[in-house]
């Protein structure tokens, strides 16, 4: 399992794009927003938490199809399936690797991008916390979507269509934490819900992803 994780991380570093691409996309989205809505700082302050969450979500979505597609093409997925690893473990490790290469950099970069959008003072902490808690759920749910569409030729667009509705609860609670945090309101309820979703999907969804992957491999 650890071997698989280190291999995926090493591949992400070597192949480039793993760490960089999602982050660059996040940056560009954030930079484009003021062009779209105008430069008034008051407005930007208000929408900053939501924009940053949407940006992180889209950046996450961008790299999902790489989770299984490469291993599928070069035959590694077949070989992994015959290896002494449970399929549930493989998909969990894949999700973890995706989070480390995509989610974690986004979490770390988000406060810096918050400056660009004039995020309110107390918002930085809660933006960071909500993303740190929410992006793992995005990776796990995305892994399920990637497993569903792994054998398909034009799976990328279909996968977005399947995954985005599944992202709704995470986005709502995550952005709510960031928004309430920025406005100085109580964040406890959405924070607990967000944590519940993250731990819930991390515990249960890998079983569905593994079942789907087995069906796609046969």
């Amino acid at each position: 399992m650890i071997a698989l994780l280190t291999r995926d991380l090493r591949l992400a570093v070597r192949a480039g794009g793993g760490f960089g691409l999602g982050l660059a996309f996040f940056l560009i989205v954030t930079v484009l927003v003021p062009f779209g809505v105008g430069p008034q700082t008051g407005l930007l302050t208000r929408i900053a938490p939501g924009i940053l969450w949407i940006g992180a979500l889209l950046a996450c979505l961008l790299s999902l199809d790489r989770i299984f597609a490469l291993d599928w093409e070069d035959g590694s997925l077949d070989l992994l399936a015959t290896a002494p690893l449970p399929m549930e473990g493989i998909v969990s490790v894949k999700a973890l690797a995706h989070w480390i290469t995509t989610g974690l950099p986004l979490v770390l970069a988000a406060p810096a991008l918050g400056v660009l959008l004039n995020l309110a003072g107390p918002g930085y902490l809660w933006l960071f916390v909500s993303l740190a808690l929410g992006t793992p759920a995005l990776s796990v749910i995305g892994t399920f979507g990637a497993a569903l569409t792994v054998g398909l030729k034009r799976g990328g667009l279909l996968m977005s269509l399947l995954v985005l509705p599944l992202y709704v609860p995470t986005l709502i609670f995550g952005a709510e934490v960031a928004r309430r945090g920025a406005e100085g309101l109580a964040v406890q309820t959405p924070l607990l819900m967000l944590a519940g979703i993250s731990f819930g999907v991390a515990a249960l969804l890998p079983f569905a992803s593994a079942a789907v992957l087995r069906i796609n491999l046969r």
Binding site: R10, R14, E73, G75, S76, D78, L79, T82, R218
Partner: protein
């Protein structure tokens, strides 16, 4: 413990291709599946390796004892030769890739990225992977494709050594592997009578 297939029916895309296949593979023995293209050799191997379910019949002595090598080598072009092997060694919980490297004459290429290898070198690396799995039953699909004569000899040597240690090998090919002591198993007589896929039966 021997690998046995009893009365096995295998299907490709739900349509049966081989019917009633039975064989036994004792430790120290090699079995070569023969038959024309599309006869179902690959499907049989994938079924034995547990990648797809059998339609009928049973396979025993397989599962966690099998190291499978299919048409694709499963190499990562951005990892070096040694890193590729080390990865599989760690996945299978074994140690030391030295003997696998030297058996397939890959020592000099150890630090090259797998993506820069020639087709034959990649194939050798794919076969070297078998040695680091530490599994007793090798299931190989067209193992000598794109290998030159010298490399085929290396491969034969590696298989012989594996058999000598009490391992066994099940291979599908239509070219000479240079392993005369292997038994031949022609799948042609087991070709399934043309009939519909099982899951379509409800609709016929």
């Amino acid at each position: 413990m021997e690998l046995t297939a009893s009365d096995l029916t295998v299907a490709r895309g739900g349509v049966p291709v081989l019917d009633g296949v039975s064989f036994a593979l004792a430790p120290g023995r090699a079995l070569v599946l023969r038959g024309p293209n599309g006869a179902g050799k690959t499907t049989l191997l994938r079924t034995v390796a547990g990648l797809q379910p059998a339609m009928a019949g049973e396979v025993s002595g397989a599962g966690e004892r099998i190291a499978y090598a299919g048409h694709a080598d499963g190499l990562k072009s951005m990892l070096s030769v040694a890193e590729n092997l080390q990865f599989w060694a760690r996945v299978f919980g074994t140690e030391g890739i030295g003997s696998a490297l030297s058996a397939f004459n890959l020592d000099a290429l150890e630090d090259r990225l797998a993506g820069t290898l020639s087709a034959g070198q990649k194939r050798r690396l794919g076969l070297a992977r078998l040695m680091v799995t530490g599994r007793p039953v090798w299931v190989l699909d067209e193992p000598t494709v794109s290998l030159d004569t010298a490399s085929v000899a290396l491969f034969a040597e590696a298989v012989r050594a594996h058999l000598g240690q009490g391992g066994s090998a099940l291979m599908a090919t239509h070219i000479d592997l240079g392993i005369p002591e292997a038994d031949d198993f022609d799948v042609t007589p087991y070709r399934a009578t043309p009939r519909a896929a099982l899951r379509d039966e409800a609709f016929l």
